[in-house]
């Protein structure tokens, strides 16, 4: 009986699964067409085994579990097709099939262990229940069923296997297994992640993420590192397109839809999202699932994971041709994102959450005029005055009235460094950092100049708020301005300007060598151009990695090199480096009007300050005007906030102050960098 039923079962499952897969492909094809070469499918194995595996392996146990379960299943299924399907009942193949099923069984046990939650060990908040809980059982069913029905192949097992109750039981187990694992793969069960995931890896929208020419190697044996080149610039938007941004799920590129479908609901993105942790109505995992709901049509009642804080699950529904906001996703969910990219960095399926969020914001801003109020004001100001504060652009250099900064306009022969001030030039706190940097540049004998009132906002905030039109206008004007002057490189204290000028302007024809001031100061130290006196007091200092410096641009080393050069030992926070937690100030989230002072909510900078306090630090070293402002906004008592430039300037031995140094034992902070 088994020998007739098993082939029918296996082939039927394969055919039905294939039909489902074809329908799934049709769902993805609702998206916008982007030309991709089919040859890219060849990239898939390497990307799976190398890039994806390294991210999964940040959780060692999970990586082993997945290797056993998935590897076991793929082998067991392939062998089952040969042995049971085509009836080539070879004992060696049978033995291999048994082995594969056994490996899969071990993996499945581990999967189940993670999901069983006795009272002492609560169910992990980041995981989803529902079909994913069922999957863990189905894995067991398949592996056990397949193992037992294959025993006779190697001559073990009673003859009674051929018929009777036991056969029916085994057949049911195998049927359950293939239904979930083969049919479900095509028909949208949890196993679709394998099918969609492989294709997503092949047709990923940012293929650069998979190349191995990474500048920041050196950590090859650890998985806790970014791999591939950084591909973090937003995609330029064609402003002449009939519709700007994404209104409906079908407005996404088809390979974005494919990417959403690859999500395994592992919740790693949710676990690192600062907005979710702060109780804001955003959860990247739910957002991706909502995109799947929208693509396939239906409501979010079937979602069995954590939702958006404060928003009930089951009240929203979507369809491919129906507007996403507000039927499927509330606008405040999109505006709560700080674009910190923590989710993207952590996602084992390499899904691009930030691209999707900005795509939807673009529609809200450019087509609907529904930017949150404060954001809209900032945009209007950018249009009218070139800075988000609506201030007279001519006052950009007011803070430096006494510094006699060289203007690039008076240096037609060119300079080494163009100092890009950024909008922090209007902020009194940041002006202190800028003054410190100027002091360092002078001490290092750097040939530099500034643009003065010819400098405009880089367009960062406008772009993250979805106003691509204003961004492109600012970018074009800045590029025209920069083309008039000669300089070797641009140095800036603002990681956002650094990112936009360095990574996003090339799409618009502006190609520059841009350095963050931390990189530049570290170079000055390396070249021996700065003399400092070592710190007298041992102080505990921690360093907060800005998202746009670290995750976006991979600069983790230079700030630490500077602190080292100052003789400071860094007490690292638990989340540092590429896992750094956002200060809450990026991506226009600070302008989003999503209230932070509701019950159950926290402020993101407060949470970051808690991370800093946990290290016992008395000083938090920062490297971004935005982080400075956010962290300094945390109520006292708290560690003091100092920009790297300020720390260096404090320790600087300038020729002028070198003399009194000898006689005064206890150094007092130099007067010079006091705010004017």
């Amino acid at each position: 009986m088994l020998q007739t039923l098993l082939p029918i079962l296996i082939f039927a499952a394969l055919i039905v699964g294939a039909i489902g897969a074809a329908r799934r492909i049709r769902l993805w094809r609702q998206g916008q067409r982007t030309p991709v070469g089919w040859a890219r499918i060849l990239h898939m194995p390497k990307r799976y085994l190398n890039d994806l595996h390294h991210i999964v392996a940040r959780d060692k146990a999970m990586a082993h579990t997945h290797v056993a379960t998935a590897g076991g299943f793929v082998a067991a299924m392939a062998l089952a097709i040969v042995v049971h399907g085509f009836g080539w009942r070879n004992p060696i193949l049978g033995g291999l099939l048994l082995a594969a099923s056994a490996v899969m069984f071990v993996g499945a046990l581990a999967v189940n262990r993670r999901r069983i939650h006795p009272r002492a060990r609560p169910f992990p908040e980041k995981l989803s229940k529902g079909p994913w809980q069922r999957l863990s059982r189905s894995l067991l069913a398949y592996s056990v069923g397949m193992f037992l029905v294959s025993l006779p192949l190697v001559g073990i097992g009673p003859v009674a296997f051929g018929g009777g109750v036991l056969a029916i039981v085994l057949l049911t187990l195998v049927a359950w297994g293939v239904l979930e694992l083969v049919v479900g793969m095509g028909w949208g069960g949890p196993m679709k992640h394998a099918f969609a995931g492989s294709l997503h890896l092949a047709f990923h929208r940012r293929p650069e993420r998979f190349d191995d020419r990474q500048a920041h190697a050196g950590s090859t044996n650890t998985h806790d590192a970014h791999r591939g080149s950084r591909s973090t610039a937003l995609f330029p938007l064609d402003l002449t397109a009939p519709k700007l941004g994404v209104e409906k799920p079908a407005d996404f590129q088809w390979n974005q839809l494919l990417g959403f479908d690859a999500c395994v609901q592992c919740g790693r993105c949710q676990a690192v999202c600062p907005a979710f942790a702060a109780g804001q109505p955003l959860n990247p995992k739910k957002l991706i699932q909502d995109m799947v709901v929208g693509m396939a049509g239906g409501s979010d009642t079937g979602y069995a994971g954590a939702g958006y804080p404060g928003i009930e699950i089951g009240k929203h529904q979507g369809a491919p041709e129906q507007a996403i906001v507000p039927q499927l996703v509330e606008a405040e969910t999109l505006w709560a994102c700080t674009t910190c990219r923590a989710c993207v960095e952590e996602c084992p399926m390499l899904i691009e959450h930030v691209d999707a969020i900005v795509d939807m914001r673009r529609f809200l801003t450019l087509e609907k005029g529904e930017t949150p109020e404060k954001g809209a004001v900032a945009i209007d100001n950018l249009i009218a005055t070139d800075n988000p504060g609506g201030l007279d652009n001519a006052s950009r250099l007011d803070w430096a009235a006494d510094l006699e900064l060289p203007r690039i306009q008076t240096r037609p022969e060119g300079v080494d460094v163009l100092l890009w001030l950024g909008d922090g030039a209007f902020d009194m706190r940041n002006q202190r950092t800028l003054r410190a940097l100027v002091q360092i540049l002078r001490a290092g004998g750097v040939d530099f100049a500034v643009l003065g009132d010819e400098e405009r906002d880089s367009g960062d905030v406008a772009r993250r708020l979805g106003d691509e039109a204003t961004f492109q206008r600012l970018a074009e004007r800045n590029i025209i301005t920069l083309s008039r002057y000669r300089f070797q490189r641009i140095v800036t204290v603002d990681p956002h300007s650094f990112h936009v000028l360095g990574r996003e302007y090339p799409d618009f024809g502006g190609k520059y060598r841009v350095l963050h001031h931390s990189t530049f100061i570290a170079e000055l130290f390396d070249a021996g151009r700065l003399t400092i006196r070592p710190a007298e007091r041992k102080e505990t200092v921690t360093y907060h990695d800005p998202c746009y410096l670290g995750r976006y641009n991979g600069e983790f080393a230079a700030p630490r090199r500077i602190l080292e050069a100052l003789g400071i030992e860094i007490a690292e926070m638990e989340r540092s480096g590429f896992r750094s937690r956002c200060c809450g100030g990026g991506g226009g989230a600070a302008l989003s009007d999503v209230p932070a002072d509701l019950p159950g909510r926290a402020r993101i900078p407060d949470m970051r300050m808690e991370d800093a306090r946990a290290t016992g630090a008395t000083t938090v070293a920062v490297a971004c005007p935005q982080c400075t402002a956010m962290l300094e906004g945390v109520v006292e008592p708290r560690p003091q906030i100092k920009d790297l430039a300020e720390l260096v300037a404090d320790a600087l031995v300038t020729p002028a102050s070198a003399e009194p140094e000898a006689s005064v034992a206890v150094s007092s902070p130099s007067r010079e960098e006091e705010p004017a």
Binding site: L239, K243, L244, T365, L366, E367, K368, G369, E370, T371, A376, I379, D380, I383, A384, T385, D386, G390, L391, D392, N393, D467, A469
Partner: protein, 280 residues
Amino acid sequence: MTPPDAAACPVVALVSSGRHPVSGRPGRAREDARAVEMGLTLAGARLQLVHAGNAEEPVLRDYLGMYHGLDDAAAQGELALLPMTPADDAVLLLATWLAESGCRLVLAGQRAECGEGSGLLPYLLAERLGWTIVSGAATIERIDADRVTLLQVLPQGQRRRLEVSLPCLITVDTLAPPPRQSAFGPARRGRIQVVDGLTAEEDSASGEWRWQPARARPKRLKIVKSGNARDRFRAAAARSSAGGQVLTDLTPEQAADRLIAYLREEKILSEEKILGDEMP
């Protein structure tokens, strides 16, 4: 606010090019934008915009960018452009166009930000058309076939309800609801229709004007003589009364003379000869 029956009455908003107070860049004139906002709340996408001036003015698109969030999601803004040079008289053009358009309610900002979109234009228009004019509207509460009910802004946060018969021209106060965001998409899609066939005439009056840059008026110091804390507090908390007098029973000419004399005294007008122009 009762949903006004806008179909009964085509609504038009006059728009001009503004100047940003800090950068001096062209943009939406802030009060005109409020007028457009009021018009959109009243008439939705049926609101018609009109501008007399340079057909190439890019800023006009910013007003068209306000056509979103309306009942008809696919609606596009429409702006009638009456071409003329800066030396021409806008009043004549606008009056001819308005008379032909059959519209009965015109909204405009109370004060423009540059050029001749100035506060006088609505008055001159109303005079020429023979319409009623109401200044300083905060909200329009109702609009029927032949009358409109609105709230007018008075000093000290007071409001006055007025009922005005149509056709009429209403200028909008800075206290009216703020304008919605101008979005790039609708701005790009909106239509600008250049109206041909109207001949502009040179503005004979403005040719004779003397222009001088505006000067911020110095703040009058409040000198409180008493050394007594209570008095000083009272003086500081007291309503600022600028003094002045109420002039009644004067002929328009006498009134104008008194006003000019006052403006001279305050050094707002320079001493040179003021070209007498008839007050409407």
